[in-house]
Amino acid sequence: MKPAPFKYIAPSTLKEALDIMTRHGYDAKLLAGGQSLIPVMNFRLAQPAIIVDLNKVTELNQFRKTERGGLRIGPMVRHSQLEHSQTVAEFAPLVHETMPHIAHPQIRNRGTIGGSLAHADPAAELPVIMVALQARFRLQSADGERWVNAEDFYQALFTTALEPEEIIVEIAIPPMPRHAGYAFTEIARRHGDFAQVGAAALIKLDESGYCRQARLVFLNVGEIPMVADQAAALMIGQLPSSDLIAETAMNAAQNEIEPAGDIHATTDYKRHLAYVLGKRAIQQAAARAREARGL
């Protein structure tokens, strides 16, 4: 249980880091919080030739609120920073609500948002939340930068749009829509374990309580965050009644997820969990949306 030898480079500026990735991108692995990378190196499932440690690149560990009420988050911001931030609680309440579900306190003290997003574990919370919130990621290389929508970033199991020489340098979360409700819920065998299934929902209602926007995204029921747009569309223009919410969740669980069974949960059981959790997430998001409207 010891990592294989590697060459260690710890740049202190982003420019240096990008130059290193231009030269060594295919052989190098970026080390952010290391809470997923170092376990797989300990198991020797990963044996990168070069480790580029971003922990000294202080320009990547800041976050701020934008004028319009969105958030701009550097990739090296640690989970515990977001978990305990008043700004995040106020302006990105879905992120705030999700943080305690991510592993354990000791892991959250070290793990970073950029590391989790780039690792692309289908059972991880943050990719699902970023897809639900329609966040965008700024990817930079020595040649320039580009913005990618969270939804387009995730391509397959542990596979993202990130090129070998690129680094996620910023995560942009748009302002919460006004009068919107949100919710995240998951089931894990023990708190802090990877969840068997999870669901995030965002619901926006008009002044009479009819649904104007609905978004439902699932965790760990496919290779990537699974977006149930067709099911969510059933809600648009309707009052979010219990029957409609159940129908929406059922539709999503039957048609828009691809759960793989494992030793803890069969495919059918995961579909059942997706239905139950999808229903709970929409119910809570709709209740919060009604509250935001004063209905």
């Binding site: 260690y8 170092i38 440690d53 515990s80 354990h104 000791q106 070290r110 708190h191």
Partner: protein, 160 residues
């Protein structure tokens, strides 16, 4: 293999060392420095036995490389009390029978020291959330939770 020179503060003492990049912080503490109070359980971040304070925050020392500790301050269980003069949290574990074999104990202690400093009057739910990342395979958790409650009472009385 290239070695990296590092300089760090361990339990208040400035320390210099040369380490191979792949050396885990947990192994550096135990093998290079002889600080064997930090225990190594699973080596993949699940059990919490190797928890130390990194710049004051509890982290897994098996999920960091020693070279990453360059310029930082580390505290291990050796920084707490001595057999004659136990730290209040150690005394509480002793009193409540919060340990049996003791393997997991250093990790629990290093998780709980900053927790009780930041949260001197925790609820049982908060205590259980705080220790959720530490596994104990013999006494079970009830006595550990009891110990934290005793420690919290002692902390509060000390402060008053």
């Amino acid at each position: 293999m290239n070695k990296h020179a590092i300089q760090l503060t361990i339990n208040g003492t400035q320390t210099k060392a040369e380490v191979e990049a792949r050396l885990l912080l947990s192994d550096f503490l135990r093998h290079d420095l002889g600080l064997t109070g930090t225990h190594v359980g699973c080596e993949h971040g699940v059990c919490g036995a190797c928890t130390i304070l990194f710049d004051g925050d509890p982290v897994r020392s098996c999920l960091m490389f020693a070279v990453q500790a360059d310029g930082h301050a580390i505290q291990t269980v050796e920084a707490l009390g001595t057999p004659e003069n136990l730290h209040p949290i150690q005394a509480a574990f002793h009193e409540a029978h919060g340990l049996q074999c003791g393997f997991c104990t250093p990790g629990f202690l290093m998780t709980l020291v900053p927790f009780l400093e930041q949260n001197p009057n925790p609820t049982e739910e908060e205590i259980r959330a705080a220790i959720s990342g530490n596994l104990c395979r013999c006494t079970g958790y009830q006595h550990i939770v009891d110990a934290v409650k005793i420690a919290a009472t002692n902390y509060t009385n000390d402060t008053n």
